[in-house]
Symmetry: C2
DNA sequence: GTGAAAGCGCTAACAG
DNA sequence: CTGTTAGCGCTTTCAC
C-alpha cells in the first residue's frame, strides 16, 4: 500500500456527487440519462447537488463505457467557402436538441487530409460521418466501410456511395443552366473555372454537353486548379476575353468567380448584361446584392445539411433506412446579369 | 460465470496488436508515444502489425487514463463570417504538427450558446480554450476560471482577461481610420453598423471620438442588431442618405456592409468616391476586388490565430508565459473608395 | 528496454 | 426505483 494514489484531474466526478447526495453513483448517472427511472424528489436533490458542485460529466469516460460518443464528424473541404458554412448550419439545425455533438473538420480540398481526419475522428470515437463529396483515397474508403458506422456523403450523388448520400446532380445543373442561356439566345459562350474539384468538373461537363448538343463550340473554356477567389474571377475573365473577344456570355463555375468577373467588367467598362452576360453557381448572398444581380444556379445547401443530419439520426436510432441516394435538386435563377427573355 | 461478456466495439485494440506482436500492450503504447524507448527492431515489427490490423488508437481511453486529451476548443461567433475563417486557419496553422486537435465551435454570437459550448467542450476534456471575445456570461467566466485550463481570448484586448489574450484595439482602429478620413478632407461623415457586438461598438466609439475631437457631428449614425450582410449594407445606406442627403462619407462597421453599400451606390448611380466615400473594416478579399476597391482597416486575423495557438502550446508544454495581453495592431488601407490625398 | 498491476470516470448487465 | 459488480482501452506507477 505504499503505491501513491494516481493524480486525478481534480474535477468533480459522479462519485463526488453520489457521496454528497448519499446514493450510489449509478443513480446519479441515471438521473442524468434516464431521469424517468429516478424518483422525483431524489432527482431534484441530485440536480441541486450537481449545480452546487459544478459537476460536468466526463464524456470520454462515458463514451468508453458505453461504446458510443454521441458525436458525429462533419467533414467539409473548406470553411472559407460560404457554400459550406450553410451546409454546416443545416447539419447543426438537423442535430439540434438531439444530444449529438457535431465535430467539424475541414480537409482543405485534399483527399490525404481527409483520410487523416477520418482516422482522427475515428480515434475520437465518433458515431457517424457526414462527408462532403464522394472522392476519397482508397485507404479512406476502406476505413470508412470497415468501421461499420453510418456514413452520409453530401453535396453530390456518388456512383457508388459508401452508405447514404444527399446531394444534387451538378452535371444536370450545368446542363440546365446552359440550356436556359441558349433559350435566351446566347450563342457564343465561354466558361471559367477554378479549384476544379469533382463537382466543378461535373458542372463543366454539363455546360459542354449542352453546347455540343446545340452544335456550338466549347473551346472558350479556361480553368485552373488554384483556389477560387474574386480576383481570380477577374483575371480569368480577362484572359478568356483576350483569346475570345467576341464572347457574349461567360459561365463561371461558382459565384465568387462570377462576382470577380463582374467587378472586372466594371473596371473595364464592359456593360453587363448588354455587352457580356455572366452567370455564377450556388446562389450565395452576393449574387442578389451586386449591381447587376447575378444569374446563378441555386443549390439547396442548407437543406442538404438538414437532410444529412436527419438521415444520420434515424440510422443512429436504429432505422435501417430505405433510399440510398437523395436528390435535392437545384433551381435556375435568371437575374440581371443575363439578358432578359426575348431580348 | 454465466455473466455475458460486455459487448465491445469490435475495433482493434492495443491488446490485439500486442498479442499479435507477442509483447505486452504497454510496449505498443510506448512505441507510439515514446518511440525512442523501444528498440528499433521491435518498433518496426509493431508498426507493421499496426498497419496490418488497421489499429486506430482510442483517444477517449487514452485521455481518460492520462487526464489530457490533446485537444483544444476554438470558439468563434460565426462560421459564415470570413473574418473567422481566417482566424481558424491561423489557429490550425499554429497547431499543425503539434499533435493537438482543434475542436471548433460556433456560438452564433450568443453568450448563452457560448456558455453551453464551454460546458460541452469541458465534458470532452479539452486541454485549453481559445475563445473569441471577452464578453461571457457570469457562469461561463466562473467555469473557465475554475477549470484551471489555459485560456486565450482573441480578437480584442479585454480589460480583465481570464488568462491570456491576443487581439487589437478596435476603438483605436476606428479612431485612426476616421482620423485618416478627416485628413483627406472629409467633414460630413456617417456610420452604418449591423450586429453591433462589443468589437463593433468599440469601432463606433472610435469613430465618435475622432469626430467629437474634430468638433464634427456624430449624428449620422445608423445601427441595427441584425446580422450583417450585403443587402443590409445597401438598405442601411439608403436609410441613412434619406436622413442625411449631404453626407460625403459613410463608414461601415465591416466590409460586408461596405460592399453592400457600394453595390447600392452603383444601383442608384451614386459615384464612389466622387459623390460619396465609403470605408469598410477588416480587409477581406472582396475589398480589393470591387470596383472601386474599398478603403478599410486591415486586421491581422490569421496572425491572431497563429499567435493564440502558439501561446496556447507554450502553456500546454509548461511555460507559464509572461505577457497577458498581446496587441497585434491594424493597418489603415486607403484605396479607391475614398478620395485621394490632397483631392 | 520491457512488463504487471492498478485505475482513470463512467455505464452495461444483472440483482433486488 | 436503487444498488453491485465488472470492465470499456488506455496510461501511470513501480518493478525488473
Amino acid at each position: 500500500m505504499t503505491r501513491r494514489t494516481r493524480r486525478t484531474s481534480g474535477r468533480v466526478t459522479l462519485d463526488d456527487v453520489a457521496r454528497r447526495v448519499g446514493v450510489s453513483k449509478i443513480t446519479i448517472s441515471r438521473a442524468l440519462r434516464e431521469p424517468w427511472r429516478v424518483s422525483e424528489g431524489l432527482r431534484q436533490r441530485i440536480h441541486a447537488v450537481i449545480d452546487e458542485l459544478g459537476y460536468i460529466p466526463n464524456r470520454q469516460a462515458g463514451a468508453l463505457a458505453s461504446a458510443r460518443s454521441r458525436s458525429i464528424a462533419l467533414l467539409v473541404p473548406s470553411l472559407s467557402n460560404a457554400v459550406f458554412s450553410e451546409v454546416i448550419r443545416g447539419v447543426d439545425e438537423g442535430f439540434a436538441g438531439s444530444g449529438y455533438q457535431v465535430l467539424l473538420g475541414h480537409t482543405s480540398y485534399s483527399r490525404e487530409e481527409e483520410a487523416h481526419l477520418i482516422d482522427t475522428y475515428l480515434s475520437f470515437g465518433v458515431d457517424g460521418f457526414i462527408i462532403s463529396g464522394s472522392q476519397h483515397t482508397d485507404s479512406a474508403r476502406q476505413r470508412l466501410s470497415r468501421c461499420g458506422l453510418p456514413i452520409c456523403e453530401i453535396m453530390e450523388l456518388p456512383e457508388s456511395p459508401l452508405d447514404m448520400a444527399v446531394g444534387l446532380d451538378h452535371e444536370a445543373a450545368g446542363h440546365a443552366l446552359t440550356g436556359a442561356l441558349l433559350e435566351l439566345g446566347y450563342r457564343r459562350l465561354g466558361f471559367i473555372g477554378a479549384r476544379m474539384d469533382y463537382r466543378a468538373r461535373r458542372r463543366l461537363e454539363g455546360w459542354q454537353r449542352a453546347l455540343t448538343e446545340a452544335g456550338l463550340s466549347t473551346a472558350a473554356c479556361l480553368t485552373t486548379e488554384s483556389p477560387s477567389d474574386y480576383r481570380l474571377g477577374g483575371q480569368l475573365l480577362g484572359e478568356l476575353l483576350e483569346q475570345y473577344p467576341a464572347l457574349e456570355m461567360v459561365c463561371c463555375v461558382n459565384d465568387d468567380l462570377a462576382a470577380g468577373a463582374l467587378f472586372e467588367c466594371q473596371r473595364r467598362g464592359i456593360r453587363v448584361p448588354d455587352q457580356l452576360g455572366l452567370t455564377g453557381y450556388n446562389g450565395l448572398d452576393i449574387t442578389e446584392a451586386t449591381t447587376p444581380t447575378l444569374s446563378t444556379v441555386i443549390t439547396p445547401r442548407r437543406r442538404i445539411g438538414v437532410a444529412a443530419a436527419s438521415r444520420m439520426l434515424s440510422r443512429l436510432e436504429g432505422d435501417q433506412g430505405t433510399e440510398v441516394l437523395q436528390d435535392l435538386g437545384f433551381e435556375i435563377a435568371l437575374r440581371e446579369s443575363t439578358r432578359p427573355a426575348g431580348g
